[in-house]
């Protein structure tokens, strides 16, 4: 009789333990499933966000290319032709006043031609496609700092032969934006751009003697509406799975961009 009771108690405990274990397993399974679902949703969200950034960047590039081509080819041809027509007027047939007006008009036309060419090159660089990233950086730097008081130096790793066109275009845009910001806001008189290929990573550094951004500034401004250029940089870095760091000392400011290639 006692044995039967003991057996029943043991069986009861076993059943209870079994039930508790089942409940515990069910809870754990449910928790794991929820976690998996949450992770999948996060991945999906990140993927969708990257797709949106990619689409925005691609559409921006297409538009830049289109405007650049129109300026370069159509507007450029019209302006150059206008110049040839204007300068085709024989100076000997003009009186002194008209000569001066003619001269002034020709000067203004030359100025417009140069500016249009500059805008077109900033919007889209054929040099990047034809001669690669290093040449495009050197050319852009020379173009935007030529005629200014900023002295420049470049030490670009020639071992880097280029990645995909989209990758190089994004990297070029990041560097272009950083150079523009330095010229516009930092008040620098010396600017140096270096690049090093380390294994499967390209590291580009911009070092200048002006008042550059700190990491905190970048994080703050790149989320603001008015910091569109920095936002573009952040998006491109995110998409290329790279890193951007800002360092400041009392004498120099450095921006370091590292990207897997």
């Amino acid at each position: 009789m006692n044995n039967n009771i003991t057996l029943l108690v043991i069986m009861g405990i076993v059943v209870m333990l079994g039930l508790m274990l089942s409940v515990l397993l069910a809870v754990m399974f449910n928790f794991r499933k929820k976690n998996q679902h949450r992770r999948a949703m996060e991945q999906l969200k990140e993927m969708q966000q990257n797709q949106l950034i990619e689409a925005a960047i691609r559409s921006e590039e297409t538009e830049r290319h289109r405007i650049s081509d129109t300026l370069h080819d159509e507007v450029g041809a019209i302006l150059s032709s206008a110049k040839l027509h204007l300068l085709g007027i024989k100076q000997t047939t003009l009186d002194e006043k008209d000569k001066k007006l003619h001269e002034k008009g020709a000067g203004l036309l030359n100025d417009v031609i140069k500016r249009v060419r500059g805008i077109s090159h900033n919007l889209h660089s054929n040099i990047l496609k034809e001669f690669g990233l290093n040449e495009a950086i050197r050319h852009f730097l020379q173009q935007v700092t030529g005629g200014t008081l900023i002295s420049t130096d470049t030490r670009l790793d020639e071992a880097y032969k280029g990645s995909t066109p989209e990758h190089d275009m994004s990297l070029y845009r990041i560097i272009q934006e950083l150079i523009n910001n330095t010229i516009k806001y930092a008040g620098a008189t010396k600017l140096e751009i270096n690049s090093t290929l380390v294994g499967q990573e390209l590291v580009v550094s911009l070092i200048h003697n002006g008042n550059g951004l700190s990491q905190e500034d970048f994080e703050t401004f790149s989320f603001r509406k008015e910091g569109l250029g920095l936002k573009n940089i952040r998006n491109r870095i995110l998409l290329l799975k790279g890193n951007i760091s800002f360092f400041k000392t009392s004498e120099t400011s450095t921006v370091r961009v590292s990207l897997p290639i």
Partner: protein, 122 residues
């Protein structure tokens, strides 16, 4: 003295007009035909061969780089002057390697254009 025969190839007629104005300053130069692209230029050169071709680099159908190479293969005596908007040194060297005899920017002064043409023809 017979006039020097010139052919102009550019997909923008408005620029061809501008060049005609500049070329008209020398009576010894005669534009024998114009073309919209490199292919049209080569087709027209099968009928009439100029002494000098002035052409743009960027053209539809056939660009100035390919056209320069083909002209030099078929008509080595014809001088080729490329006038374009590209001012990169490497690009210009590449063009010269393909056989171009001269290169000028589209916004060059008329005096510069005429001096280069005279250098190539006289």
């Amino acid at each position: 003295m017979p006039k020097f025969k010139i052919a102009i190839a550019d997909d923008y007629p408005i620029y061809r007009d501008g060049l005609q104005v500049t070329l008209s300053s020398d009576e010894n130069l005669e534009v024998i035909f114009e073309a919209d692209n490199g292919q049209e230029l080569l087709d027209k050169m099968d009928i009439s061969v100029p002494d000098l071709v002035i052409m743009d680099y960027k053209m539809p159908v056939m660009d100035g780089m390919v056209a320069t190479r083909l002209i030099k293969e078929k008509h080595p005596a014809v001088k080729v002057l490329v006038i374009s908007m590209f001012h990169d040194e490497k690009f210009i060297n590449h063009l010269m390697d393909n056989g171009a005899d001269g290169y000028l920017l589209k916004d060059a002064e008329p005096e510069q254009i005429m001096a280069t043409i005279h250098q190539l023809l006289y």
